[in-house]
């Protein structure tokens, strides 16, 4: 597996951290760490359903991944980018109809019952496939799970399913929950969804709504000498600007997922005792995307879309909005997914003259007031950066004679307006790349998704060639061939611009120097933190 | 003498959390054209309530009022507003009866406009005529009412009352706030107007001296009822009710043998030709 490419700024960041002796231990994985201690972490939301087997989202994983484990976790250096968790080995059959998992032995649930293949079979068939937001796609063709013995689970599919997809999806979709607590109950309302029972390094102790979650050390964890922390507290700090202050006041030791606003990082990095870490999010890449409503006749014209792409100064976006903690996008697959990434696609350099020429060519001349046409722009409200990019895009479009009126709405209203009512011309969205195009970026351009499905193609774009490639890749077993299909996919998207990919970014963690072994895998923030330690 | 107004068994109670008072309790009387009926009574006897009932400022609980030959109480909405010009009132509080920022023009112009008494173009000359009739000069027309003297104000109030050419004017303690000299002049004016226009007056007062000077007939009110009624002089000389005796006793100069305070000539009630 090749080294993961990171942006220039990231490299600078990492090397500067390497120079700073205080930050050094954090980057050396599995460093000899002191045991014990309570780690207090900022959390900005309280998911009402904490069960990662049902809700595969980063907000849930952030807390639940310490308690409930997947079959495998992402890894910087493991085979296929994976490291074993509850499964120790996996093997697909050549026809793509079976995958066999060897399961870890000697693992017990937090309530003392043994973990067996029956739990995996139950989770897969009764939870992942029917209930989970992503599992419904990945395991759509899962027919049965055979359990020849307590430590073997054989997944059987009705149609060929690419092992590449399953592998890439494992860290996200395969959280195993205990059959003995869920069987025969209403899974969606089971009390264990909020008071988690898993096999992970930490057990769920309490949740004080509005204040904190408390996880405590699992003394019987299967990992040798793991975990090293005694306790993890997720302190609820819904106000982002509050996290920086709490870190400085040493009330918390870690703020992940850019809980500290990017704009404040420059200053925070100079505060003694705090460090900034941009690693640990490589498999959690967010893409900054301009969604386009193709029902608008102006936007249905590829020239206009190209003009918009030329009007956006990606360097400004990366340097000013993301303060360098991002990189410019070339297409729908981020550079952080080297398995699929293809740089050889049409690109759109920042060039307002070209943009204006394209708009003139398309027949939309500037009016007497300098305006060509007016658009409704809806930036997603989820991140500071999406809103700021909305502000920027309005200005960038104004520069080429397009008058974009921003409509801000809260999350629910934004969701309804864009993905159900199609009440937008342009929207700014931050979709997540989840390791495989089949479960992330393709849904944004594929046609045929009914209205009401969040984060899907609701711009009315339909391209049968593109649809065909996406469909074919979903059942292509051969990894090489499947990758080629996705290369083709990237070319078409970058050429035809059903949407405009602007930038891709990971998050930033700010931590006390006392926190050790952070960012030791590409999904670190949402992994189990078994090795994370705290210097007294 | 033709009957202009007749009141039958009129009743009005005021009910609230604190009290329950029958302000007017079965009142009956009638009034002829060109006649002045004085209503006398101690304070709280229901005089003002009667005035407000007649002007439809409040509604009675029971009873009937016939005015100018038709049922006065059955009138509603715009029908009532159109007929309102026929009964007018002069209030006790001579300042409070005018809008604080009104000019004489406003005060007199409103009834003329509302009842269409004269065409718009003739309104200012009509106002001048009205002012002249109540003994003011047309130069007063542009003055704010609040800047006038008490006597001038009451003249404006009377001018307003006769502007819509009513057949009945209710005067509720209309001269009580004025000093004796002014009072006499106003009373003279009223009598003169009655003589010229044949207006009827319902003259409400607690002051028998005033009533004796202007009333053809007198009614004594007590606790919401009329306890005696008859010729003014007769009642003042020989009150038959306790309330009447008490009222007369309160005004020493009215006791038999005393001299009346003024020597105005009452006009005779006009008779229809």
């Amino acid at each position: 597996m090749p080294a993961l490419p990171v942006s220039r700024r990231q490299i600078l960041q990492i090397s500067s951290l390497l120079l700073a002796s205080t930050a050094l231990p954090a980057l050396l994985a599995a460093q000899q760490a002191p045991a014990g201690g309570r780690l207090v972490v900022a959390a900005d939301s309280e998911p009402k359903n904490l069960n990662p087997a049902i809700v595969a989202s980063n907000g849930v994983f952030f807390i639940a991944s310490k308690v409930i484990e997947p079959l495998a976790e992402a890894s910087f250096d493991g085979k296929d980018g994976l490291q074993p968790r509850l499964a120790t080995a996996w093997e697909g059959s050549g026809d793509g109809l079976r995958i066999t998992f060897k399961l870890r032995e000697g693992v017990t649930w937090h309530d003392g019952k043994p973990f067996t293949s029956a739990d995996v079979a139950f989770s897969a068939l009764n939870v992942w496939k029917p209930l989970q937001n992503l599992g419904r796609i990945v395991f759509a063709n899962l027919e049965a799970v055979d359990t020849p013995d307590d430590h073997t689970a054989v997944f059987r599919f009705s149609k060929p399913t690419p092992i590449q997809l399953i592998r890439n999806a494992l860290p996200v979709v395969s959280s195993v929950i205990p059959k003995h607590l869920y069987e025969g109950t209403d899974i969606a309302t089971n009390p264990a969804n909020v008071k988690l029972v898993g096999t992970g390094p930490f057990t769920f102790a309490e949740h004080k709504p509005g204040e904190y979650y408390r996880l405590v050390r699992n003394e019987k964890y299967w990992g040798k000498d793991q975990p090293s922390l005694d306790e993890i507290i997720f302190r609820v700090l819904p106000d982002r600007a509050g996290a920086g202050a709490a870190l400085e006041a040493e009330e918390i030791q870690l703020a992940a997922f850019s809980a500290v606003p990017l704009a404040d990082l420059d200053r925070i990095s100079k505060v003694p005792g705090l460090k900034i870490v941009s690693r640990g999010y490589e498999a959690l890449t967010y893409q900054l995307v301009v969604e386009i409503n193709h029902r608008r006749k102006e936007l249905a014209d590829p020239k206009v879309r190209q003009a918009i792409a030329h009007a956006i100064d990606r360097n400004f976006v990366v340097d000013t909005i993301f303060l360098g903690y991002a990189s410019a996008s070339t297409g729908p697959v981020p550079k952080n997914a080297p398995e699929f990434y293809d740089a050889d696609v049409p690109s759109y350099a920042f060039d307002t003259q070209k943009a204006e020429a394209l708009l003139d060519e398309a027949g939309y001349k500037r009016g007497s007031d300098g305006i060509r046409f007016t658009l409704k722009l809806r930036p997603a409200p989820y991140f500071n950066e999406t809103r700021q990019f909305g502000d920027y895009l309005r200005q960038a479009l104004a520069a080429v004679g397009i008058d974009a009126q921003i409509v801000n709405a809260d999350s629910a209203a934004h969701q309804k307006a864009v993905y159900t009512d199609h009440d937008f011309d342009l929207a700014v969205a931050p979709p997540v790349f989840r390791g495989d195009p089949a479960i992330s970026t393709t849904i944004l351009v594929q046609s045929g998704t009914p209205a009401g499905v969040p984060f899907s193609n609701q711009g009315g774009y339909a391209n049968s060639a593109l649809d065909a490639i996406i469909a074919k890749a979903a059942t292509t077993i051969d990894s090489g061939e499947r990758t080629k299909l996705y290369n083709e996919f990237q070319k078409i998207v970058a050429t035809d611009l059903p949407l405009i990919n602007v930038a891709e970014w990971g998050f930033i963690s700010v931590a006390s120097d006392r926190v050790l072994n952070i960012a030791d895998n590409p999904r670190w923030a949402v992994s189990n933190w078994a090795t994370t330690a705290l210097q007294p | 003498m033709k009957t202009l107004l007749s009141v039958e068994n009129l009743r009005k109670r005021f009910v609230s959390a604190e009290r329950d008072v029958a302000a007017v309790d079965g009142l009956s009387f009638s009034l002829g054209t060109g006649e002045t009926l004085g209503i006398a009574g101690a304070s709280g006897s229901g005089k003002s309530t009667l005035a407000r009932l007649l002007l439809r400022l409040i509604e009675p609980d029971a009873g009937g009022i016939t005015f100018e030959g038709s049922d006065w109480l059955s009138l509603k909405g715009s029908d009532l507003r159109h007929r309102r010009g026929r009964i007018q009132m002069v209030f006790q509080d001579i300042l409070g009866a005018f809008h604080p920022s009104a000019t004489v023009n406003d005060a007199l112009g409103d009834p003329l406009r509302i009842h269409g008494i004269v065409a718009k173009a003739e309104r200012s000359s009509e106002i001048a005529r009205l002012l002249e009739r109540v003994g003011l000069s047309s130069a007063h027309a542009t003055r704010p009412v609040r800047e006038l003297s008490g006597g001038q104000r009451q003249r404006v109030a009377i001018a307003r009352a006769i502007a819509s050419r009513p057949s009945l004017v209710v005067l509720d303690e209309a001269v009580s706030a004025l000093d004796v000299q002014l009072r006499n002049r106003i009373l003279e004016l009223l009598v003169e107007l009655q003589r010229e226009n044949g207006i009827s007056y319902l003259f409400i007062s607690h002051d028998l001296a005033v009533l004796r000077a202007v009333s053809h007939r007198l009614a004594i009110m007590d606790a919401g009822r009329i306890v005696e009624t008859g010729n003014t002089t007769d009642i003042i000389n020989h009150p038959s009710s306790a309330a009447g005796r008490a009222l007369i006793a309160a005004v020493p100069r009215l006791t038999p043998g005393g001299r009346p305070t003024n020597t105005m000539q009452k006009s005779e009630p006009t008779h229809e030709p």
């Binding site: 404040d264 420059d266 200005q395 104004a398 921003i406 | 400022l57 009964i87 006790q92 509302i114």
Partner: protein
């Protein structure tokens, strides 16, 4: 003229008048003082104030001119404040007038609605309203109005109730004046002064409420407001505190100006009648 003269004689009135005159002047002249879209990117990001003559007050996170923002923000803040206060007063007058004049069932129903708006925390209402309706200037104005009209309504009704017992209203009725004309021409002008006396504090409260809404991210994204500038600057409060402090000062100075003016007015009017009580009764904004 007389009133302004009296006003300028009180120290509060004079200072308040001058502050507001300057602010209103800036708001009116905003496009002349600082032409173009105040939201456009004018230079490097985070230029410190007083370092670049072209950008006297520096730039924000995206390189937008802070001076332009403050100048144009004056326009939005004052406009929102004045519009919301005006709407609240007009609505309050209307409801109070109808309730007080009609009495009976109409009064009872209207007053229960007024009660409803008075017992609900106005800011909660505004927050829910803007979140749900989406943030734009008219929605923000409406949201602030919803939380502010009940007081003027109650005040108007109390005035009307006492005024309608006056003889001059009875006199107007007696001459056959239409009830609508009585309400509008006879009662309204007299009911107005105490309601207008609280208008200044309504404006101040509206400006503060708009700022609080913008601070929570519920301001109109297409126009600059001081509240949104403060919120925007909050993320860099420690490294570039001027981004929050400058619009904050503008906001405080304006609100102080409004309060001073209302004090001065109350003093100037005190000669004409009893001074207004509870001058700040509507002032508490979050």
């Amino acid at each position: 003229m007389n009133l302004i003269h009296k006003l300028m004689k009180t120290p509060e009135g004079a200072v308040g008048f001058i502050i507001l005159a300057i602010m209103i002047g800036i708001a009116i002249m905003a496009s002349t003082i600082s032409p173009g879209d105040p939201l456009r990117i004018a230079g490097r990001a985070l230029v410190a104030p007083f370092t670049d003559p072209a950008l006297p007050l520096g730039t924000d996170r995206l390189g937008r001119d802070v001076a332009a923002g403050i100048v144009h923000g004056a326009r939005t803040s004052l406009l929102v404040g004045a519009a919301a206060a005006l709407a609240a007063i007009v609505l309050g007058l209307l409801v109070g007038l109808v309730a007080g004049f009609c009495s009976g069932i109409v009064d009872e129903v209207l007053m229960r609605v007024v009660d409803a708006f008075q017992i609900v925390p106005g800011f909660l209402l505004a927050l829910a309203f803007v979140s749900v309706m989406g943030a734009s200037l008219p929605v923000v104005v409406l949201a602030i109005t919803l939380g502010a009209w009940a007081d003027p309504a109650r005040l108007t009704r109390a005035q009307v109730l006492s005024l309608r017992e006056r003889d001059y209203v009875a006199a107007a009725k007696v001459i056959g004046m239409h009830p609508a004309e009585i309400a509008v021409r006879q009662i309204l002008p007299q009911a107005l002064p105490p309601v207008l006396a609280i208008s200044a504090t309504l404006v101040a409260a509206a400006i503060l409420t708009e700022a609080a809404l913008s601070f929570l991210g519920l301001g109109d994204p297409n126009s600059v407001t001081w509240g949104s500038m403060i919120a925007e600057g909050r993320n860099v409060l420690r490294s570039s505190p001027w981004l929050s402090i400058l619009p904050g000062l503008a906001l405080i100075i304006t609100v102080v100006g409004v309060y001073l003016l209302s004090e001065g007015l109350a003093k100037a009017l005190a000669g004409d009648g009893p001074a207004m009580q509870g001058k700040l009764r509507n002032g508490a904004a979050p």
